[in-house]
């Protein structure tokens, strides 16, 4: 009887996890230790509890919990340079079982994040391509860029506004200056402002972000100065409206309905207000040229505007309008990088599709 009871007790005893390994978490700024273990084979396991002991101390502290299907845990409440070891506790409804403790380990910060190596290699290749084509551009080798209808229409739209005696509305998007689309918009604004200075066309630039307001004001002022019409620049051309999304949309709609500009530019980052702006502009009979890298807003601009710059056409705009060789060279570099990615996708797809074929054994 006693023997069978002992046997039953042994048989029902919970098995702990095994192979508990603690090591410094790689590619981080320190302060974290990564734990891995082999799960308990018991089906009654509910969860695992992670215990930590600091070298020189007798107590074990509970530092976290992991699910019954988990086999790893990151302890990010440790200090660099101090040695710790860990135990994993198997928990069931009625009992617990401790694993053997891991070896002592210490965490430290790394100087390089190897997880990001592919991004680094990609950026280096990309940069080399751009530098190569900029070099070609500097040697006056003619570089071809396909026609972009929206950018060809800029000159025509500005001329139309001048003939009608009405102004140009330029909305540089609703994002902040750290958004690349906003910077691209500022470049185009500079080119547009040079033309409005030359033709004497009124320019209206409402803004949502105060930093973008300060940048836009300087861009327009410098463009007017470069065009030799510094006297024509008016501080009031470029103004801050509000940072609330729909309040800004309402304000711009009001400007469009009251001032009735002949041409509207919507160049930059937009969100849900894109159709509100574009459709209101369409009701006033203005020519509308839009450009955004917000993929979700492109359908609205394509529907409501006369011309739309899609995605990277926006970034190519400053090179296209100014025709500066250095900028054109950068565009070529960009295009060849895309070609390289395209080739890699095709090759990877073929390899994935033929994964189970004997020919793959060659590799």
């Amino acid at each position: 009887m006693t023997l069978s009871l002992s046997l039953i007790f042994l048989l029902s005893s919970l098995s702990p996890p095994t192979d508990v390994i603690a090591r410094d978490k790689p590619n981080d700024s320190g302060g974290a230790i990564l734990l891995t273990w082999t799960r308990s084979s018991d089906t009654t396991v509910v969860s695992y509890r992670v215990l930590r002991q600091t070298e020189g101390k007798a107590t074990w502290d509970t530092v976290g919990l992991a699910g019954r299907l988990a086999n790893r845990f990151t302890d990010d409440e440790v200090q660099d340079g101090i040695r710790y070891r860990y135990q994993i506790l198997t928990v069931s409804e009625t009992e617990t079982a401790e694993s053997a403790p891991s070896e002592y380990t210490v965490c430290s910060p790394q100087w390089f994040n190897f997880d990001r190596m592919p991004a680094v290699i990609g950026t280096i290749i990309f940069t080399c391509l751009i530098v190569f084509f900029i070099g070609r551009a500097k040697r006056n080798i003619k570089l071809f860029i396909r026609r972009i209808a929206g950018l060809d229409a800029v000159e025509e739209a500005l001329g139309r506004a001048t003939e009608m005696g009405r102004g140009i509305l330029y909305v540089p998007g609703l994002s902040s200056i750290d958004d690349v689309a906003t910077i691209a918009s500022m470049n185009i604004l500079g080119e547009v402002a040079k033309k409005t200075a030359k033709f004497g066309t009124p320019l209206i630039v409402p803004l949502r972000d105060p930093i973008v307001y300060t940048v836009a004001r300087e861009v327009v002022k410098e463009s007017y100065t470069a065009a030799g019409r510094a006297d024509a620049f008016n501080q009031d051309m470029v103004f801050y409206v509000t940072d609330q999304q729909f309040a800004f949309a309402a304000a711009v709609d009001g400007i469009m309905v009251r001032e009735k500009p002949a041409t509207n530019f919507f160049i930059g980052m937009f969100w849900a207000e894109s159709l509100i702006l574009a459709e209101t502009g369409a009701t006033t009979g203005a020519i509308q040229i839009a450009g955004t890298d917000a993929v979700s807003q492109l359908p609205f601009f394509i529907t409501a505007c006369d011309y739309t710059l899609i995605g990277e056409e926006l970034y190519a705009a400053s090179a296209y309008l100014s025709r500066e060789p250095l900028l054109l060279g950068a565009i070529k570099g960009q295009d060849y990088s895309k070609l390289l990615i395209l080739v890699l996708i095709v090759v990877s797809t073929i390899l994935a599709l033929t994964a189970n074929l004997p020919v793959q054994n060659i590799f």
Binding site: V46, S47, G64, G67, R68, E93, T283
Partner: protein, 293 residues
């Protein structure tokens, strides 16, 4: 000016008026449409319907008042389904603004059932048939802690009762007693449920999402990490239809207010109106173009 020319140049305000009428009238006088459930909704419904009787349904009310019109009908429909099939229900929220919404949902549904109850068994009693745990923080503690012991995570429920003392908690200790967790959210909280509860404890997860977010969740649905999904108001309407069919099957005669389905009649009418506008616009365009030639 010919008729088709006039139609091409019609004042936009007529279009706005028609859209306004087309959206408003079905809201005031909804017409009966019978949504036919898509596979993701059917999978979720069938899973809950065929869960073992001792397993509870847990609903995570993770949405905010601004997306309430789209997601609240999902929560109501799930509660109707659970109580009609005599399942135990646990409610919680990982989003503090969902607290009032969860309470409103459970209060509405329990009042409906209790208004038609004739016996104690038919009644829905707090602490016996459902528990509302409320909100606490941080999220990771809840998602992992519920795997061990729910009463440790929520020692007190939303109404201030000690959870250890509630009869329902005797049969709702941790994820082992939960058949499925359905997270209804406008954010990426359902993915947190997958990352912690499903990956580490194996508990099935269902999802209720806005139409806009649903597109991002299809990979999880296809991989089986979501057992089922209701997407947008249409998903809510489909689940309501399945629940209504279940009510008929169980012989429950009283009418359910189906807000998702009512809103679908508005949405259907608006879509049809826009399609008619497009057809008329194209006819007018081709007729006038031919005349010019």
């Amino acid at each position: 000016m010919g008729f088709w020319n006039k139609l091409l140049k019609i004042d936009r305000r007529w279009i706005y008026t028609i859209i306004w009428l087309v959206v408003m009238i079905p809201l005031l006088f909804p017409f009966k449409i019978k949504p036919m459930a898509m596979p993701p909704v059917t999978r979720l419904f069938n899973y809950i319907d065929t869960m073992p009787e001792d397993k509870a349904l847990v609903i995570s009310v993770d949405y905010t008042p601004d997306i309430q019109p789209e997601l609240h009908p999902m929560c109501i429909a799930l509660l109707h389904h659970a109580f009609a099939t005599k399942r135990k229900v646990g409610l919680l929220t990982l989003q503090v603004m969902g607290l009032g919404l969860g309470e409103a949902a459970i209060r509405q549904v329990t009042e409906e059932f209790n208004a038609h109850a004739t016996t104690h068994e038919d009644s829905i009693i707090n602490g016996e048939d459902y528990v509302y745990w409320g909100w606490t923080t941080p999220i990771i503690t809840i998602l992992l802690g519920m795997g061990e012991r729910i009463t440790n995570v929520y020692p007190v429920d939303y109404y201030g009762h000690r959870t250890e003392s509630l009869p329902i908690m005797k049969h709702l200790k941790n994820y082992d007693d939960i058949g499925i967790v359905v997270s209804i959210a406008g954010s990426s909280i359902p993915i947190s449920w997958v990352n912690f509860a499903n990956t580490q404890f194996g508990v099935p997860i269902g999802c209720g999402a806005t139409a806009v977010s649903a597109a991002d969740y299809y990979p999880y649905l296809n991989s089986g990490q979501f057992t089922g999904m209701m997407a947008g108001m249409k998903g809510a309407a489909e689940y309501e239809q399945l629940v209504a069919d279940k009510f008929d099957e169980l012989g429950i005669k009283w009418e359910l207010r189906r807000k998702g389905t009512e809103a679908m009649s508005s949405q259907t009418a608006a879509h049809i109106a826009i399609m008619i506008f497009i057809i008329i616009g194209n006819i007018a365009y081709f007729v006038t173009r031919r005349r010019k030639k």
